[in-house]
Symmetry: C2
Subunit: 137 residues, 2 copies
DNA sequence: TATATTTGTTAGCGTTAACTAACAATCTAT
DNA sequence: ATAGATTGTTAGTTAACGCTAACAAATATA
């Protein structure tokens, strides 16, 4: 099981999101999305490439590998879960929730995440949200 | 408003807790509680002293200042709130919740903490009502 | 009291991860 | 085709924060 730092998880997640927004992911996009400089992205990309999570030729665009994609989507799911939880259940405003989800997503165990998912499924006040969970009733 | 790193908050909180367990707080105690070496504690103490949050003479015991105490108790309260939330509401086991509370406590805004407190107050399982927050099948 | 053990400190190193400055490649538009 | 803008890279710095090794003070004990 690959274990990544919060920082590397952020990069991976950013790439994953940009992949869904644009035809190609470039260093510049990642830098912009995360609010860091391009050299920082460059260093991180070397790191993620060494871990087999992305492919990135010099001056080329960035791609997630299969493994990288699996990891990234796991992180993205955590993010969404925490976001829904904070906004829909706890009542935190979207902006705050967004920024706090970014940090919480790195610190919860898989087991706790599952409990969150279950709890949300059973307690969502408004069932008409675009994410559907299993019927628990 | 003083802003501390997660690491410094951990040290402050540890001192606060040890103060309630023992007559004097020593470098050794903090090191043991946080699972770091004494030199690490030493460095952190210099840091916290420079910030006016503790007093610590060479080879002497460690004390929280008034400001330090206020900060530390705020962190401790966050910790307890998150712990209660994870165990009582979400149903995470105490051990996992303890370790995750340690990390979440550093990343939530005061506003979000308030929402959590409110939510807990409104949703703490009441012995008189049949609410299940664990999978009870 | 002298020595051993425990506790505290200092110095110096390694890692992570950000940054700036300078340089290189690529792309765009004339 | 080439000048200028944009994007990417490299090198080197900085800061936080952990560590080990070595030394110093304090405490306990023979």
């Amino acid at each position: 099981m690959i274990s990544l730092s919060s920082s590397m998880e952020d990069y991976l997640e950013a790439i994953y999101e940009i992949e869904r927004e644009k035809p190609a992911v470039r260093v510049r996009d990642v830098a912009r999305k995360l609010g860091v400089t391009m050299p920082s992205v460059n260093g991180a990309m070397k790191n993620l490439e060494a871990l087999g999570l992305i492919r990135h030729g010099r001056y080329e665009h960035i791609e997630l590998t299969e493994t990288g994609s699996v990891h990234a989507s796991r992180i993205a799911t955590r993010h969404r879960t925490i976001l829904v939880f904070l906004t829909e259940i706890i009542g935190v405003d979207v902006e705050t929730a967004e920024s706090e989800a970014c940090r919480i997503e790195h610190v919860l165990s898989a087991a706790t995440m599952d409990k969150f998912t279950d709890y949300i499924a059973r307690n969502l006040p408004d069932p008409g949200i675009e994410i559907t969970y299993e019927d628990s009733e």
